[in-house]
């Protein structure tokens, strides 16, 4: 289903921020963007490839999109589709947005104004810095402790 509100807002951001590096998969959107490169559809492989090389992903608040961004450890800004505006069958994307909003790399905008403001306020350097290169200290500590406690196996056949 089309999501013209998202495409239009990102196009507006590309114009206002003077960005020449925005690429979009726009589906059956009736709105034709003027300040970004777009295609109707990407294959899953193309999508992952684009997402892997992107500095930022902007998307509807679909679980698949958010999880792809998490998996590839990319910052993502999402806006939920709304049933009342004919963008989806129901409002579960709103629930999804609320579920993922606290994650380090996820920013949620609940409407176009918020989305534009969020995008314009983004500092790409700060975003790269704050999305630290490594896992949470707790997870690292647990694994470090596990490795330290693991027996050394210099003579494994003698156990």
């Amino acid at each position: 289903m089309p999501f013209d509100r998202l495409v239009r807002t990102v196009d507006e951001w590309a114009r206002a921020a003077g960005r020449k590096d925005v690429f979009a998969q726009i589906g059956s959107s009736a709105y034709r963007p003027r300040h970004l490169e777009s295609v109707e559809c990407l294959t899953p492989a193309e999508f992952r490839q684009r997402a892997s090389s992107a500095a930022l992903i902007i998307s509807h608040a679909g679980v698949g999109s958010i999880l792809t961004a998490l998996e590839l450890c990319k910052p993502v800004v999402v806006m939920p589709r709304r049933a009342a505006l004919g963008e989806h069958r129901n409002d579960h994307q709103v629930a999804t947005s609320q579920r993922f909003v606290n994650l380090a790399n996820v920013r949620v905008a609940f409407n176009e104004e918020e989305l534009l403001a969020t995008l314009l306020a983004l500092d790409f350097n700060e975003m790269t810095r704050s999305l630290a290169a490594y896992a949470s200290p707790e997870l690292l500590a647990r694994i470090r402790e596990f490795v330290r406690a693991a027996p050394a196996r210099t003579r494994y056949w003698r156990r």
Binding site: L103, Y134, V147, A150
Partner: protein, 155 residues
């Protein structure tokens, strides 16, 4: 008896290419001071590990029996050669095989389920349970008291 040479722990880190691999790399600080050897399904990731040993195994998933077999055989050879003290994996099938094989040889094993599995553990993650000494999920709501455990995420 003189001073023993301090044994450097040997870690084997296994992950399929793509998201699994990216998440594995984020665990690198946990292996400081160890000899770490990497196994991946895609030679294109060699550059991500500097001068550490890097092996490539066949990409295998549930539908391809021969690939699974070749993958398991190659992993067996790697493990016999490297004799890791610890095997860690973020998935998927190659990690499962590595942990199963290494367990037979007495290694300690860690499974970290991919962050993409936000509703339940992956199939490999469920199958590896009896062989993983540390069995982790990256989502608190999936954690249970007998496992999987949640102690944090890669993000």
């Amino acid at each position: 008896m003189g001073n023993r040479r301090r044994h450097v722990k040997r870690v084997l880190a296994v992950a399929s290419g793509g998201g699994h691999w990216i998440q594995l790399l984020r665990l690198q600080p946990a292996f400081e001071g160890c000899r770490i050897v990497y196994v991946c399904t895609n030679s294109g990731y060699r550059y991500t590990v500097g001068s550490s040993p890097f092996y490539v195994v066949t990409d295998a998933h549930r539908g391809t029996r021969w690939r699974l077999l070749f993958c398991a055989l190659r992993l067996g050879l790697i493990i016999l050669f490297e004799l890791p003290d610890v095997v860690i994996s973020t998935g998927a099938a190659p990690g499962y095989f590595a942990i199963r094989i290494a367990k037979v040889l007495g290694a300690k094993t860690v499974w970290v389920d991919s962050i993409a599995n936000a509703s339940e553990m992956s199939l490999s993650g469920r199958l590896v349970r009896p062989f993983a000494d540390l069995w982790l999920t990256q989502w608190k709501h999936i954690a249970r008291s007998p496992g999987p455990h949640f102690v944090g995420a890669v993000l």
